[in-house]
Symmetry: C2
Subunit: 282 residues, 2 copies
């Protein structure tokens, strides 16, 4: 086999951000500064890092970020009130509630409290349903990143067989719906799938979204398949055994610098679009 | 091959209705009459027949049915007002808006105006999302019927490969989600699927939901597979070539008297459950 095309997420993200930079400038000329509010509840260091990364990415693009930090002891009611205030604030265009919140909080209720017009991270039930019906303004960011990478590299989706490994509410389920809406035949696999190797081997497009390091074996990949690895495990390791998969794949996302950077750029894009809608530009 | 087990929807429906009859009695002893409101907009004869069938099925079980009939010229606003009145009416436990409504009406807005607690037909966006996340009180009736038939006959779902042909919002998409939530590996096929025959041949469980008479060929069915035919085409013909499929299937729903009668019993069951919730019994 030839070497696969490496689907360079850093390059895709850079192009998206270059496009967004111009749009942020236009908004500022109209007196509007796009603004993402991030909510961090409790002191989980990984979550704190993620929120900081997102806020930094905003700042570099000229998007304002409002950081709301709430204590570990926050109640569901208090969190809902904080979200309600951000919903009402016309200066805030997008709201991101960092997952996971501390155990006692009703995370689903908190996600669903985010106004649909500000749900730039695609976490509400309504946003999920709209996305499944092909009508969401802001799909979940990682699924959107996966589709964006395919489109960027001109990889066809219609009529191809996409095999998605994983069925989480913000990744496996919505990416399956989005691939289906783009006319792929879609198979969804998970921990209870028997013969996972055989299933993965059916895929023209394989999306790995399981959260287990190097779980998808290289020999499972059909020769010529396109592999998108949405995993991000400790030690910068994806869900796919990258080196082995390269022997079969025609194109593959690396980890890091694959799906991850495009995911963040989707969050930025949705925030800019929300600001453009508020400005009547969309 | 041996003859397949015929999955007798009429018998399944009869058992469900026998169970519901006792529950309706108990509700009446508490002074509560379960009530389904049906809304028919315009004069489409097939729609009128469907609504009448559903109302008759209610009556036979002691469930009250309120029939709202609106003229062809009804506006979206007028329909939303009618739905709003039924939402507010404590005597109404379930609301069914007969699909399709006349073209100028925003059907999606009308469906989504139904209060989630009265969405016994499972047509709202929120109900769809809840169902996809395994938390819906009232899933769409045909998908619920398919699962009920499988369970009634003790046919295992977990770890099996289910192939769903069709991706409509009230059938293909929700039944895929329900099979996935029951730990099937799920493949969703549709009009843009290449090699449909090969895909169907992978299925341990095949769900036909395309609306094309005898579209699924018997020789596509893997020997021993279970076939559920949700099609109902003119002339009482399903989406599966029944006679030919019988040569391969281990179990199959006929048309008529397969999925259809169980679908109506799901509507009745959801209405009774909504009344039980109103009575504080659930």
């Amino acid at each position: 086999m030839r070497e696969p095309i490496v689907l360079d997420g850093s390059r895709v993200a850079a192009e998206i951000k270059a496009n967004l930079a111009g749009r942020v400038e236009r908004l500022k000329e109209l007196g509007i500064v796009p603004c993402l509010a991030t909510i961090l509840v409790g002191g989980d260091p990984a979550s704190a890092t993620y929120v900081k990364m997102k806020a930094n990415a905003c700042r570099r693009l000229g998007i304002e970020s409002v950081r709301v930090e709430l204590p570990e002891t926050t109640t569901t009611e208090e969190l809902l009130e904080a979200i309600g205030r951000l919903n009402e604030d016309p200066a805030v265009h997008g709201i991101l509630l960092q997952h996971p919140v501390p155990g006692p909080i009703d995370e689903r209720a908190a996600f669903d409290a985010i106004a649909i017009g500000k749900d730039v991270d695609g976490v509400t039930m309504l946003g999920f349903a709209l996305n499944t019906f092909g009508a969401a303004a802001y799909p979940s960011c990682t699924p959107a990143a996966i589709l964006t990478i395919l489109d960027h590299y001109g990889i066809g989706i219609e009529g191809r067989h996409a095999v998605v490994v994983g069925r989480s509410p913000i990744l496996g389920k919505p990416v399956s719906a989005m691939l289906l809406n783009r006319n792929a035949t879609v198979t969804i696999c998970h921990s209870k799938t028997t013969d996972l190797a055989e299933m993965v081997a059916l895929g023209d497009i394989v999306v790995a979204a399981v959260g287990k390091p190097r779980f998808i074996q290289g020999e499972w990949i059909k020769p010529g398949a396109v592999v998108l690895d949405a995993g991000y495990n400790p030690g910068n390791v994806g869900d796919v055994d990258y080196e082995a998969a390269c022997r079969n794949a025609s194109a593959i996302t690396p980890v890091p610098a694959g799906v991850g950077p495009v995911t963040i750029s989707m969050l930025l894009k949705h925030t800019v679009e929300a600001a453009e809608r508020a400005a009547g530009l969309r």
